[in-house]
């Protein structure tokens, strides 16, 4: 039988029982009743009215002041019923919004999808995890016929949907500048124009762009205010920060970018990241760069993809599984 039809009889039972003897077991029944009635969208004012009606039935002699007092209580509880209904409707809306965003996140995923190139002698691993549903970080690989692999890693200042929307635009801007792919500084200068003209002035984008020449093992790169990555020296077994100067995209349309070059030896690594990695916050403060490097050191013997996966897992744990910013980590490892 539907709850609403059985409700009256059930409530009468519980009430009679409790008036007879004030037992905890009856109060437990009442708790279960209240859960059921909430589930069935019974409002507070309906419960008051039910209570009053049953009481009147049980005690026809009930003083009128008790009856009147219930009418007043009913009027008061009506306001709570109001708020309760709004809450239900807002919950429903929230569910709808969430599923809409989930669809958008899938669309974004397809839009920004990139394949990690597979080449002899270079082991590449990449991971990008959004803090919320949509990602404001972005990475992209392109492999061309001249033995060159381009790597872009970008971060929109801000997170969530606005950052994700902005990122989709950056991706298409990059796709439409294939001629500059081999010149990191020129590519960034062109992207800077696009961002400056098309993106909301309150939004800034940082990007690191590099191209790896697989024939000469030369890595050319430029940075637009992006979180510095690291080079790992396989011989000296040490890390150095990648220093590359340059203003964020979208600030000044006349910005020029410097291009740098670095020879990559067997056993060397290039580590690129977004500030979601270095700004991992734990109860004891930020994760120190050294901590990050110790982790990398610990997993050095693994494949590049394994390393980034493990580091993500470790840092996720360190932060109690609450990512505060989008997290992107890329490792390129030249085989010995």
């Amino acid at each position: 039988m539907p709850f609403r039809e059985a409700m009256e009889a059930k409530y009468r039972d519980i009430l009679a029982k409790y008036i007879e003897e004030q037992k905890e077991s009856t109060l437990y029944l009442a708790q279960k009743f209240s859960r059921k009635s909430i589930e069935n969208q019974v409002t507070p004012e309906e419960i008051i009215s039910l209570h009053k009606m049953i009481l009147q039935e049980m005690y026809p002699e009930m003083p009128t002041y008790v009856t009147h007092s219930f009418d007043l209580l009913l009027e008061i509880m009506l306001g709570y019923g109001f708020a309760y209904r709004e809450h239900q409707s807002l919950r429903h809306q929230q569910k709808e919004l969430r599923s809409e965003i989930e669809i958008a996140a899938n669309v974004q995923h397809t839009l920004l999808d990139t394949k990690i190139p597979v080449v002899d002698g270079l082991d590449i691993g990449a991971i990008s995890v959004p803090a919320r549903l949509m990602n404001g970080d972005y990475y992209n690989f392109v492999q061309d016929e001249n033995q060159c692999i381009s790597i872009a890693i970008a971060d929109v200042i801000g997170k969530g949907i606005p950052a994700a929307l902005c990122m989709s635009m950056i991706k298409y801007a990059m796709d439409s500048l294939p001629g500059y792919r081999n010149e990191p500084s020129v590519l960034l200068e062109n992207l800077n124009h696009v961002v400056e003209q098309n993106v909301d002035p309150s939004m800034f984008v940082t990007m690191f762009y590099g191209i790896y020449n697989h024939e000469h093992h030369l890595f050319s790169y430029a940075s637009a205010g992006h979180e510095p990555g690291f080079f790992y020296d396989g011989k000296k077994k040490g890390f150095t920060e990648i220093t590359a100067r340059g203003l964020m995209l979208g600030i000044d349309k006349k910005t020029k970018y410097t291009q740098y070059e670095k020879k990559i030896e067997p056993g060397d690594m290039i580590i690129l990241l977004s500030d979601g990695v270095t700004e991992c916050r734990t109860s004891e403060g930020f994760v120190e760069k050294d901590t990050l490097l110790t982790y990398i050191d610990k997993y050095l013997h693994l494949s590049a993809q394994e390393i980034v996966n493990r580091i993500y897992k470790d840092l996720e744990q360190l932060q109690n599984f609450q990512l505060r910013d989008d997290f992107t980590l890329i490792i390129l490892k030249r085989s010995v």
């Binding site: 004012e45 309906e46 009215s49 009053k52 009418d71 009913l74 009027e75 009506l78 306001g79 109001f82 708020a83 309760y84 209904r85 709004e86 809450h87 409707s89 807002l90 809306q93």
Partner: protein
Amino acid sequence: MDIQSCVNIQTEWDIVAARQLGRNVAKELGFGVVDQARITTAISELARNIFIYAHKGRVCIEKMNDKGHAGLRIIAVDSGPGINDIRLAMEDGYSTSGGLGAGLPGVKRLMDEFQIVSSQGKGTEITAVKWIR
């Protein structure tokens, strides 16, 4: 044939008069106490909006009969400033009472039928119906 009675809204006391009229008619028609209270609250919200936003107007209560099925219609009319964005006004959480669930969306939920006609500078007419279950 429908019988209509109205209350002019000009002061806060008129809100009480409108509530009283609505409750009496609801009682006469045989609405249960919970529905009486809901109808009264709906009238109260609409009359209050007239008092606050349009300063003066009218709330009318009509007995309805649809093939032996009895109902009550509330008509709240004013020639005040009108509602600029009705869709927004009907959104949950928009009302200044946000979170209390009151206001126009609340009225709509309390009643079985709800209709709003409003144009800027001309005024607002809200009609809401509740049928006896």
